[in-house]
Structures are given as structure tokens and as C-alpha cells.
């Protein structure tokens, strides 16, 4: 995103530069080349892009950029090419070279110049070599990365020129790597290639590995030996990173499980209610997020980045209120009768699903990721996606918050008192039915905010909850009923074990193995990892 912004700034700058004086005639000489894009199919377009790039004139960059983004159109009447942006029912046109405003037009008057993946690739590398000398280091960085991917020997010269002028160390490094990639692909001397192999080997990532494997399989003699050595070194270090990656994936899966299960740890673990409608509370939380985002989109688009923060309390309240309703309406009549509770809550879950289906329709609803939840960053050779990272953080916060509520507030004290000895608590003047309802509401509300988080990584459909209910019960039972720490450890263990099994056993078998493991574990320790001790157990 920030790249795009800086690119636009660069474009404006370019426009300012080329808009003045003598450059004007220079621009007009490019126009036939740009207008040529209106003719022909993919094959011809590819040639035309090559012609544009061959001018080496950065002024064609905006046109190429627009072409890649599918925003380059030609007017049907005179085959003039324009950059077109959606505006109302039609398009706002601007000149592809001067970037001057060229008025608006109806949808039918212009035709989009089609691009496919192949062309996007060609455009990317053409843009790369054109913008290597751009004033903004971010644009230069992106350009260097694009040239690296293109590994075009013809770019070596312009890369060397750019490296000589580069002042930013990071950008220069990427440029040198791009040069190395291009050298490997060229007819250069063995000496040059050996040097290039060294540069790539020091990168140590998969892109370098891909290039080196290609070289290993296609070269001979000294170069091949050096490439083989480099491949082996990279493979060795990547194997280590793989383990780190599995652990991270495990923690990430564990945090999702924790979020889904932690509400259940209260309703099932603490209160002993087998709540089959728990998954639907999660689903309702996700739908609250959807509604909030819809409202924001239609009335206050500027707030979109904060939509999740707005959705959190609302999801808690809505799911919590429904939870209280279920407890008051159904479950309180069924305390002490687990089988009937199970069946009744199962029925409630079906009713809730169908209700959501009737209101919102059966299809998936789009819940957008705010910018700060999109994309990924690299940590060594680990790719960590932002949405997963924030969910891990969020899960820990929810856990800590819940712990605080249960241990440090009077409501928490009452809850623990009621679950440990209901009659004694009642004699002390605690309104036990009220505490029951509130505790159930708390568990449901927590499920609701879990739904807000899950809406970022999963489908928002009426079936959302079903996918999590089994896993949630597994986590709670495995961790030990009635113990939040058990839920935490249980979720993390299951997550990590799952992720270490998956590469070897596959996702399907991995799941089965985890289930078998839990069954065996429960045989050995029927009360889970952290069993409650003392009189409460017998009660």
C-alpha cells in the first residue's frame, strides 16, 4: 500500500517534470507507441510493451502501471488510449503520458485493454528497469525486486548504473542481488557467475534457492560445483527455519483454538453445561463484524480501519445477550440433566443457524481485512502474516482479561463460589441464578469476540460455528475441565502437534492422529491435563 502511495507521488513528480517545456515534444513522440496498445491481442500487446520499455523513457511508466492494473482503456471512436478510473457509472479519463485530466466518459464508449498473468509479468519487469533511478527509495526497492524476478541479462547495464548511483544501502543490496540473478542467466564469464552465486547464497531464501537449483541443473564444471554447494548450504539453513515455522504455525493455530474454546471453557468447564450452540455464538460475533463493516462502508468509510474495535464490544454484547437469553429461557430448567441440555442446545444451534441463513442469506459474506491486518512481513526466512500475528496477540489479551475478571473482580469471586459450592454460596447471600445467567453470558460474549477475530481468517457463513465446536470441546476436555490454564496449554499443544504432523501425515491424517492421541490421553488421565483437585471434584 505504502509502495503504491509513493509510486503515485513519483508519478505526480514525473508529470511535473515532463509537463514542462522541451520534454513535451519528446512525449508526443511516445504517443504512437502508447496508442498502438489499442490494437491486437495478448501476443501483440506483449510486443508493444517491449517497444515501450525499449524507449527507456520513464514517462511511459504510468501507462504501463495502469495497463498492469487493468486501468488502461482505449476510446472506441478514435482508438486513443487513456488511463481510466471508475467514477460513478462511467470512467474518469486522464492522458497516459501527460497525466492531464481528459474528462469523463460512459462505460460503453471505452474498451479495456486486456492483460493476463504473462503480460503482468512482462510489465512488472519492464517497469522495474524503467524506475530503477526513481527519486523515491521505495520505488527503487520495488523496481530492484521486480528486476530480480525478471532475471533479464539485458538489465545488467542499467542495474550497474543504478548501483553506482544508489545511496540507500538496503536498496543497493537488492540491486546487487538482482544483478547477480541476471548474471546467472547471461553468457557472462565463469568468474562473474561464481561471484554471483556467492551473492545469492548469502541471501539464503527460497528465491535464491530456486535460481541456484536452476543453475545447478543447467551448468557444468566449477560453476555447477559452486551452485551445488550453495544449494546445500541454503537447504540446511532452511530446514532449521522450517522447524521455527512449524512452531509459529502451531502457535497461530493454537491461538485460534484458544479463542474458539475459551468461552466454552467457562460454560462447559466452569458451569458444566454442554453447550452445543457455542459455535453459533462465535458465528454471531462474526456476523456482527459484518454488519458493523457494512454500516461503516455505507455511512463512514473513513472508520473502516477501526471497524474491528467497534465490532468487539458490540459482538460481546450481542452474543452475551443471546447467551443470557438461552440460559434464562432454556438451560436453567435443565441443570443437572446433561443429556437433555445437550439435545436442547443442539436444537438451539440449528435454530440460530437457520435464522442467520434466513436473515443474511446462505452465501458467504465479505468481511474485509483492515490494512493493518493484511499482508505479511519477513522474519529471517519466516513469513509471518499480520492477521495471524494479531490474532495470537488478541488471544493472549482475551485470556489475560478473562483471568483478571475471574480472579480479581467480585463477579469472578461469586462465579467461583457458585461453581465450587452452590448451596453454601446461596446461603452467603449470592443470587446464584443471576450469577449463572451472567457467567453463561460471559462465556457466550467471549465466543462472540472470538467470532470477530475469526471473521478475519475464515468464512463468514452460517456454518462458521460448526467447524469449531468439535475442536473447542477437544481443547477443553484435553486441557482439563474447569481450568483456564488447562485450556491455554491444551490449545497450544494441540496446535503445535497438529502443525508438526501436517507436513508428514497430511492434513486429513494429521487430524485423525490428533484425535486418536486425545482419546488415548483421556484413557490415561480422564480429567485432562490440569485436573481440579479437592472437594469441588466430588461435588
Amino acid at each position: 500500500m505504502s509502495f503504491l502511495k509513493s509510486f503515485l507521488m513519483f508519478l505526480c513528480l514525473m508529470a511535473g517534470l515532463v509537463g514542462t517545456g522541451a520534454a513535451q515534444s519528446d512525449l508526443e513522440s511516445l504517443r504512437p507507441l502508447v496508442n498502438a496498445l489499442a490494437e491486437g491481442k495478448y501476443k501483440e500487446t506483449q510486443k508493444q510493451i517491449g517497444d515501450l520499455a525499449a524507449t527507456g523513457n520513464p514517462a511511459v511508466a504510468p501507462a504501463l502501471e495502469a495497463l498492469g492494473a487493468g486501468e488502461l482503456f482505449f476510446r472506441k471512436s478514435d482508438k486513443q488510449v487513456f488511463i481510466a478510473k471508475k467514477a460513478g457509472k462511467g470512467y474518469a479519463l486522464s492522458d497516459p503520458l501527460t497525466l492531464e485530466d481528459a474528462g469523463e466518459t460512459g462505460r460503453r464508449a471505452v474498451t479495456k485493454i486486456k492483460v493476463n498473468n504473462n503480460l503482468r509479468r512482462v510489465i512488472r519487469s519492464a517497469l522495474g528497469s524503467l524506475t530503477l533511478l526513481a527519486p523515491d527509495p521505495k520505488v527503487r526497492m520495488a523496481a530492484a525486486e521486480a528486476v530480480f524476478k525478471a532475471k533479464d541479462p539485458e538489465a545488467i547495464e542499467s542495474l550497474e548504473a543504478a548501483i553506482a548511483k544508489e545511496i540507500d544501502d538496503d536498496v543497493r543490496l537488492v540491486m546487487e542481488q538482482a544483478r547477480a540473478a541476471a548474471v546467472l542467466n547471461s553468457d557472462g564469464s565463469d568468474g562473474d557467475k561464481l561471484e554471483a552465486i556467492e551473492t545469492l547464497a548469502s541471501m539464503g531464501n527460497r528465491e535464491a534457492l530456486s535460481l541456484l537449483i536452476g543453475l545447478r541443473d543447467s551448468s557444468e564444471g566449477e560453476v555447477q560445483q559452486a551452485a551445488t554447494r550453495a544449494v546445500n548450504t541454503i537447504n540446511k539453513s532452511l530446514a532449521l527455519w522450517d522447524n521455527a515455522q512449524n512452531i509459529w504455525y502451531g502457535i497461530s493455530l493454537g491461538s485460534v483454538l484458544l479463542l474458539a474454546a475459551i468461552g466454552l471453557a467457562i460454560t462447559f468447564g466452569v458451569m458444566g453445561v454442554i453447550n452445543m450452540a457455542h459455535g453459533e455464538m462465535v458465528m454471531i460475533g462474526a456476523y456482527v463484524t459484518f454488519v458493523v463493516q457494512e454500516l461503516i462502508r455505507s455511512s463512514a468509510p473513513g472508520l473502516f480501519e477501526y471497524s474491528l474495535f467497534i465490532a468487539l464490544p458490540l459482538a460481546f454484547l450481542v452474543s452475551g445477550a443471546i447467551g443470557v437469553g438461552i440460559e434464562r429461557g432454556v438451560i436453567r430448567w435443565l441443570y443437572g440433566r446433561p443429556l437433555e441440555t445437550l439435545l436442547a442446545t443442539w436444537g438451539i444451534s440449528l435454530i440460530l443457524q437457520q435464522a442467520v441463513r434466513s436473515i443474511f442469506g446462505p452465501t458467504n459474506r465479505e468481511v474485509g481485512n483492515p490494512d493493518w491486518m493484511s499482508g505479511a512481513f519477513e522474519l529471517g526466512q519466516l513469513t509471518i502474516t499480520y492477521n495471524r500475528m494479531w490474532i495470537v496477540v488478541f488471544a493472549i489479551l482475551v485470556f489475560a482479561g478473562l483471568m483478571l475478571v475471574l480472579k480479581k473482580t467480585s463477579f469472578g469471586l461469586f462465579t467461583r463460589a457458585v461453581t465450587q459450592n452452590r448451596r453454601m454460596a446461596a446461603s452467603m447471600g449470592i443470587r446464584t441464578p443471576w450469577i449463572d445467567a451472567m457467567t453463561f453470558g460471559l462465556g457466550s460474549g467471549i465466543a462472540g469476540i472470538a467470532g470477530v477475530a475469526l471473521s478475519q481468517i475464515d468464512n463468514v457463513s452460517p456454518n462458521l460455528g460448526q467447524g469449531y465446536i468439535i475442536d473447542s470441546f477437544m481443547v477443553v476436555v484435553f486441557g482439563g475441565v474447569g481450568n483456564l490454564w488447562g485450556t491455554l496449554v491444551g490449545a497450544m499443544t494441540l496446535g503445535v502437534v497438529n502443525k508438526f504432523l501436517e507436513p508428514y501425515a497430511g492434513a486429513v491424517l494429521g487430524k485423525i492422529l490428533v484425535l486418536v492421541f486425545i482419546i488415548l490421553f483421556i484413557q490415561k488421565r480422564p480429567r485432562g491435563l490440569f485436573a481440579l483437585k479437592g472437594r469441588a471434584v466430588e461435588a
Binding site: Y42, K43, G70, K114, N116, N117, N118, R120, R124, K149, R206, E207, L209, S210, L211, L212, I213, G214, L215, D217, Q245, Y249, S252, L253, V256, Q353, Q354, R357, G361, P362, T363, N364, R365, E366, G368, N369, S374, G375, A376, T383, T385, Y386, N387, R388, I457, D458, N459, V460, S461, P462, N463, Q466, G467, K499, E502, P503, G506, A507, V508, K511
Partner: protein, 430 residues
């Protein structure tokens, strides 16, 4: 076309006895709709139920069939496979429907097959499937592997598609992906792709944690050869899969994903900006630029009262199947199953992509194959299409045991699995 239809309808009206005319007003032809309206598959199938209701309503506006109005009978098999068989029986025996439009998953279709055979009724099945089947009472208006999967792979292998040499076949763990991948694997090997250049991966239904698999794909793609993913991942699991792909920065220019189960409807739940360029292979895209399609979309959006509602390939397959049935009934002059089965082979109706689709003797239809790239607005842009129509092949030419079989339901052969080697009807075993 419309003229001949109404002409036929008029002719039908006149031939129906004068005595019958007086109560023709009340008498209706019943059509069954067997799509899940609850449970996991409701997400996809509810749309088809609505599409069928719309088609029936439109047909009634044109005067119905054989001078009688059509009446839709909707049942809900609730994504429960054995219930499909019960509901099918209920439709035919209790409600007395003359044809059934329905099913989505292969397992639901397999579950109703014996019912349609026993009660000799008609089923129109509108979804792409794995092939290896041809039944007398069933008409397959969706794609078979050779009208979807094989052309998609051909495209990716071509220079225009990126000259892909390494393949990830990723699918949900059930019959359609497994059979399709088996066919694709055999096909790729016949094209000289080495064993180590094919990675096959299956995931459970509704899989939501794609981190490991996406990173495996990245690793597999970094072996110095152009790599593509062929996805037979089903419905619900696609959203988290594509979200993970987008976030992990796998660009279509580097590792394209071509999907066989992702259409406009599935993309409706997704932000498609990071997915631009990933592909899907279908026989229809909403973006098809024809008058028939524009009219269809308009009717659909008016019918659902939602001007953003999208159309998709199985809807077009329902449209074609329904029109074929109408035409065959008009041609036969009756709704009797045997007469319609005889009449429908060779019937050809306009599809929405600007051509005509015809019912073939193997009960599959001819269709164009389109490859589309996902655009930022959630639509597909066709980047490649077959030059003509391709006929659906019931028995794949790339599988042992299946390649010797042909299907032809016309007399005198009347066989769904005729073995050309042994010269007998009855599959590969006989």
C-alpha cells in the same frame, strides 16, 4: 427462437384434446427441485433453487409447457446424503413430479441414482463433476473433466498460460477431487511431466488453517521451474485458502492458482484485490458479453431483488438443462420419462455465452470451455476459450479401465458403459 417456442406451445395446446381444454387451466406439470436449503451445502445450492424458481416463473410467463403451467415443488434434503434419496422418492411418488432438477455433491447424486432408475424419472444435474458415470435417467449439464480440467491444464502448459512445468494438485478429500486429480495426474504424465514435478495434497472439508499448505506450495514452487496450482478445493474452504494466499504474497504472476470450484458466488465473500490474475475454468462467466446473458442477469437480479447478486456456472447449467427439458417435452408432446429420454438426445438450446449447447447420446452436453482471471471487482475476465464447443466425455480417456468405455443411450445400444474392447455393455469388468 422464442417464436418457435411459442409456436410449439400453441401446437401443443391445440393437440391437447378439446375436452381437456376446459380444465387445462388448473392442471399443471410438476417440476421437482432437490437442492439443500440448510446444512453445509445450503451455501451453494440455495442459489440454484432460486434460479430454478425463476426459470419456471419465466417459462410460465411464456405460457408454460404443452399449454400447461409449470408448478415447482421444492424440498429440502438438508445436505444429508441419504435424505436426498428419500426426498427424491417423495418428489416422484407423493408429489408426482415429471422431472427433478437438483443435487450438487457427487455423493448426493450417487445416493439418488437408484431411486430415479427404479421409478423411471428424470434428473437434471447442473454441477461440474468427476465423470465416470452415465445413467439413463440422468442428464449431466455441468462440466465433465474433459470440459473443464483438461483444457485448463492445457492452457497453463501453453506459452500464453505461462509454460508451467511443475504442478500442485490440491483438493478437498472426497470423490470429485480425487477422481479429477487421478485423471489429471495420468494426463500430465502422458504429457511428459515427471513424477517429482507433481505434488498432490488433500485437505478435509471446511479446512481453515492453510498456513502449512500455502508454505508447502511456496517451497514446491522454488525449484527453478514455473509452478501452478490446480485447485479442486471445495466451497467453504476456499475463502481461508485464498486469504492465506493473498496474505502470504503469492502472486498470480509467480504461482497461478486455477480453480474448478470457485465461481463468482464464492468470490462474493472475499476481497479479491490481492487475488487478481488467479484463474478459474468454467463453461460460463457472468462477464460473458452476450445479449442473452445480459437479459439473464437482469432477470435474475430483478427476481432476487438484489442488484449486486451474481450469477455463476451451475446456474447456467440449470438454465440449459431446464430449457432442454422444455424443448424435449414439447418435441415428445408428453412429459412421460421414456418419451423425453428418447426425444432429448440431439436437442440443442442457446447457452449464455453466445452459442448453442446440444444434448449428446451419453447424456452430457456440448459447451465452450472458458479460462478466466479473477479481477478486482470479483468478476472473471476470459483470457482464453476453446475455439468451438467441447462435448462432455462420460468416461475419461486417461484412466485405465475407463478409456475403453463409451456411452450411448440411443436405441439400439442404450448403454451407459459399453466396452469397445469386449463389445459388451457392462463396464470394464465384463
Amino acid at each position: 427462437m422464442k417464436k418457435t417456442l411459442t409456436g410449439l406451445a400453441l401446437a401443443g395446446l391445440m393437440t391437447s384434446t378439446f375436452a381437456g381444454l376446459s380444465y387445462a387451466q388448473e392442471e399443471t406439470i410438476k417440476v421437482g427441485i432437490l437442492h439443500s436449503l440448510s446444512g453445509t451445502m445450503a451455501i451453494s445450492e440455495t442459489t440454484l433453487k432460486d434460479a430454478m424458481l425463476m426459470l419456471i416463473e419465466e417459462q410460465n410467463k411464456k405460457g408454460g409447457v404443452l399449454g400447461k403451467k409449470l408448478e415447482a415443488v421444492v424440498v429440502d434434503p438438508a445436505s444429508d446424503w441419504p435424505l436426498f434419496a428419500e426426498k427424491a422418492r417423495e418428489l416422484i411418488e407423493v408429489n408426482g413430479v415429471d422431472a427433478v432438477f437438483g443435487c450438487w455433491t457427487s455423493v448426493s447424486r450417487k445416493s439418488v441414482l437408484p431411486v430415479f432408475e427404479e421409478l423411471n424419472s428424470l434428473l437434471f444435474y447442473p454441477v461440474q463433476y468427476e465423470g465416470e458415470e452415465s445413467q439413463r435417467n440422468v442428464f449431466y449439464t455441468g462440466a465433465a473433466p474433459n470440459t473443464q480440467a483438461i483444457p485448463a491444464v492445457d492452457y497453463l502448459m501453453s506459452e500464453e498460460g505461462g509454460s508451467v512445468e511443475r504442478w500442485v494438485l490440491a483438493g478437498t478429500d472426497y470423490v470429485y477431487p480425487r477422481t479429477t486429480n487421478k485423471i489429471l495426474e495420468a494426463y500430465l504424465k502422458s504429457k511428459g511431466v515427471a513424477e517429482e514435478d507433481i505434488m498432490i495434497n488433500y485437505t478435509p472439508f471446511g479446512h481453515s488453517d492453510w498456513q502449512t499448505i500455502v508454505s508447502d506450495i511456496k517451497t514446491f514452487g522454488s525449484a527453478g521451474k514455473k509452478t501452478a496450482v490446480v485447485s479442486t478445493i471445495n466451497g467453504d474452504a476456499n475463502v481461508p485458502f485464498y486469504k492465506e494466499l493473498g496474505n502470504a504474497g503469492i502472486k498470480a504472476e509467480d504461482i497461478p492458482v486455477v480453480a474448478f470450484s470457485v465461481g463468482e458466488e464464492e468470490l462474493a465473500g472475499l476481497d479479491t484485490a490481492p487475488l487478481v490474475g488467479h484463474l478459474a475454468a468454467w463453461n460460463y462467466f457472468q462477464s460473458a458479453d452476450t445479449d442473452a446473458n445480459a437479459e439473464f442477469i437482469e432477470t435474475w437480479q430483478a427476481f432476487t431483488g438484489d442488484e449486486d447478486r451474481v450469477t455463476n456456472d451451475p446456474m447456467e447449467a440449470s438454465y440449459i438443462g431446464f430449457n432442454m427439458w422444455v424443448e424435449a417435452v414439447e418435441k415428445a408432446g408428453t412429459t412421460d420419462a421414456d418419451a423425453v429420454i428418447d426425444a432429448i438426445v440431439g436437442v440443442s438450446v442457446p447457452n449464455l455465452t453466445g452459442g448453442y449447447s446440444a444434448m449428446m447420446p451419453n447424456h452430457h452436453i456440448t459447451k465452450p470451455v472458458l479460462i478466466g482471471e479473477i479481477q478486482e471487482d470479483g468478476q472473471f475476465e476470459t483470457v482464453w476459450e476453446t475455439s468451438g464447443l467441447v462435448g462432455g466425455d462420460a468416461w475419461s480417456d486417461y484412466l485405465e479401465g475407463s478409456k475403453d468405455l463409451i456411452s450411448d443411450w440411443r436405441a439400439p445400444m442404450s448403454c451407459g458403459n459399453f466396452n469397445v474392447k469386449t463389445g459388451k455393455c457392462g463396464g470394464s469388468d465384463s
